[in-house]
Symmetry: C2
Subunit: 320 residues, 2 copies
């Protein structure tokens, strides 16, 4: 029998944690990760793809343990000299990290699609899973605030998520198509599960789903779709998920997240600390410890999420 494949949807740091767990516990060559590209931006004339890069470094085993982003064994000479030249330094880029940005920018300028570049980089980093940008087309998150529209990195890094979010917009999404490899992975007859990682639903997963066709690919896939809560006891482990939900007038509860994915998911993984909410979900729920401090936490959660998804296989029911 052909090995059964798994697809996960992910943003950056939080999602990459579970992605690493899945990568380490699933048969590697059958694991595909569809990653948000709407945080990508041009900086110093270089194309930077924060979520893809965090994913690549995490799966390659070279994440920076101090920052959560960037590479391990990093040096910072470039930024130090750039500051003396009066260059922009608000987004920190390490010397080794820069190699990926420079090489990607050169290859994009030469006409290669982002997905082909990332596929090659993943291979060179000896990552035995498919790391796939959600789309090869430019989709860019714009954060609408009382002070005006902000690019994602301006909001997230330069302004440290301080402005109040009135709404979110994904520029370019309407004209985008899912990356061919993403479509192929979701259409595979051997697909056993689709897992939505505990990334920010509004900032990391929504821009993936905003690509026309992506939502339908999930809804019509042969496999159950399971989302993992990004909230524990009303708070995100890291990042502005709860703050943004509050600003958007949404209760910072896993119930709201499941509601947000309504019509798309067949099951929801709740944190054990929120198990009292279990009866209030209208999809099957699994209560797990979703806090991932260590690599073995990630592996354990990955196994539980995968087994939960498989348990839904026959009882599949998708609310629309």
């Amino acid at each position: 029998m052909k090995a059964r494949s798994v697809v996960a949807l992910s943003g950056g740091i939080g999602g990459a944690k579970l992605a690493l767990g899945l990568y380490r516990t699933l048969p590697r060559r059958t694991f595909s990760l569809i990653v948000n590209t709407a945080d990508d931006f041009d900086y110093l004339g270089l194309r930077i793809c924060p979520d893809l890069d965090t994913t690549l470094y995490t799966l390659a085993g070279v994440p920076n343990p101090d920052t959560g982003w960037g590479r391990s064994d990093e040096t910072w000479t470039f930024m130090t000299v750039l500051a003396t030249l009066g260059g922009e330094t608000w987004f920190r880029v390490g010397d080794g990290d820069l190699a990926l940005h420079v090489e990607r920018t050169r290859r994009l300028a030469a006409g290669e699609p982002l997905s082909a570049i990332i596929e090659d980089v993943a291979r060179r980093f000896q990552i035995a899973a498919a790391v796939i940008p959600a789309t090869d087309d430019p989709v860019r998150t714009r954060v609408v605030t009382p002070g005006g529209d902000l690019t994602f990195q301006d909001y997230f890094v330069r302004q440290r998520c301080e402005p109040r979010v009135e709404s979110l917009r994904f520029d370019g999404a309407g004209a985008a198509s899912p990356a061919v490899a993403a479509k192929r992975a979701l259409e595979s007859a051997s697909l056993a599960a689709v897992i939505i990682c505990p990334s920010n639903p509004y900032l990391s997963i929504d821009p993936i789903l905003a690509v026309p066709g992506m939502r339908t690919l999930l809804q019509t896939s042969a496999a159950p779709v399971v989302a993992v809560t990004p909230l524990i006891d009303g708070r995100a482990v890291k990042g502005p998920t709860a703050k943004i939900m509050g600003e958007l007038g949404i209760e910072a509860s896993p119930l709201s997240v499941a509601q947000h994915y309504r019509g798309l998911i067949d099951g929801f993984v709740l944190d054990v600390r929120d198990r009292a909410l279990k009866p209030r979900f209208d999809v099957p729920v699994c209560a797990s410890d979703t806090f991932m401090a260590t690599v073995s936490d990630r592996e354990r959660l990955a196994r539980e999420v995968f087994e939960f998804a498989l348990s839904l296989d026959r009882s599949r029911r998708r609310i629309s």
Copy 2:
């Protein structure tokens, strides 16, 4: 009385040595250095200007003492990671050096002329002399060899000057103009001397002189023009000058260099080791120790060259 100004023409490492001597001994704000741009090239999608960069790092006091090019206190993480990505690594770029390339590339793409960028970089590096690209227009050296035409860096770095040089071509020179600041410096009424540094006459100085108008600017300037020999006892201190002269059928002698600059120079600085040749020059000659091992060697030679130039002031005679 207004301070009298000096202009020097220079290529990379060899020329920058005397340039530093001039910079340290002359009143700084009246010193202008016109630098070769024909070795510039695009690499990894970045514009690299080897001669300008060597000059900037030398005058800023941060040259790499080990390599002769690049910066001191350099790290190499970028190149190490780039190699794992399969990127080109034949031209070594340090992490700090990269800041200049990335920032310059960004500013050029935004439409700034090279001369404006270099002027700003020099100011930020606290260089109190004018560092001026010979031209803002693209001029590129092509080395014609039995195996075909090579770009300069391909010849110089990748093939270590091994191919036989049949001829040299400066693509784009015909359509180029001298940088405005170069023209202004050479037209200044306060100009006391023009010094052609001991750079390779064929590879470093010729492409400057190939820019239409540059030769006339030297010939009609108010000041004597003095060239400093790049050869000592038939050999270059560093680099392929003597080898190329042999391949071009030119005797590797300072007499040939003076002959090459005929019609342009009013005096020639010969190395003391070649003083026996003195009677054979048809311009005034000063014999100096032109070997510059230390910074004080550079300062001493700079003083001697400058004084020699001033001595020619009244007896000016240019052969055409």
